[in-house]
Amino acid sequence: MELLITRHMKLQKRRVWLNGAVEYLSEAGSVDQLFRDMYRHYDIDYPKFFKMDNLCKLAFLSTEILLRGTILLGKYPGEEVAIILENASSSLEYDQKHVESIRDRNKYFPSPSLFVYTIPNIMVAEIAIRHKVKGEHAVFILEQFDPGLIYHYVSELFRNQQVSCCLAGWVESYGDHYQSFLFVIEEEDKIRAFKGLQEYVIFDTVNTEKLFKGKSI
């Protein structure tokens, strides 16, 4: 069983690449403005977006771009779609905001909408709610993107026949720094009918790292 990367995207330094080609370039002066501009540019209608923390906004926007105009996830039952992500800063930015908000014991009003974003897995939840994904999910906190971990973990899920499709990658956000790299993994025999419509990439550690670094396969 061959696993293929059938679609991939990257967002960093105010640029969006979809399947290797730049498709959006922004002049936004701040992360908040960039995400707001992207929401409008991609004509998204999801008011809950504005309540999310930046990590979730990044994961949400990246997934919207990756799946835009496709019926990709619709081909599979929600229970057979997994989301496996990595990042470095976890939810540290909102952890710190939450701590700051409850520092003064005389004004102790913890905000539920702040607190809810103090776990990184919430970005998976936001994607899952939006796209009706109900399969395996995990977020690994690592110093840097580890394509090997993703490759072995995701391959095992497919080998155990737990999933038919997986959304995987790196979603990192802290302060002004943000970077996302998301891709879709499917089994070759399940997409045979669509083969030839675009170039697919064999899912392995080397190819995944090359895509992450923007190198040609």
Binding site: P47, K48, F49, F50, K51, K107, F109, P110, S111, P112, S113, V116
Partner: protein, 87 residues
């Protein structure tokens, strides 16, 4: 007096819940806050309004079964605040 409170509450709710692109005037004071036809708020939003009432009005909601009645609309919240302030 309730009209002034409703006006203030509409602004506070929009700020507290970070409702993008909605002005206070657009919030119908009698429309349901949750579900179809309202602002489409969720369970986290309810908790935020509970915090708002505590922080801005010193009112603590202790009986959760009163929630649906109190939080039905901006007007019902305003009526609850005025009722509590009389006590």
């Amino acid at each position: 007096m309730i009209e002034d409170l409703i006006l203030k509450l509409r602004k506070e709710i929009i700020d507290q819940l970070q409702l993008e692109g909605i002005s206070p005037e657009e919030v119908d004071p009698e429309a349901p806050l949750f579900g179809e036809g309202g602002l489409g708020l969720d369970s986290i939003d309810v908790l935020e309004i509970v915090v708002l009432l505590d922080k801005n009005y010193g009112i603590k909601i202790r009986a959760s079964k009163e929630g649906p009645k109190i939080f039905y609309s901006v007007k019902s919240i305003a009526e609850y605040i005025l009722d509590q302030q009389k006590k």
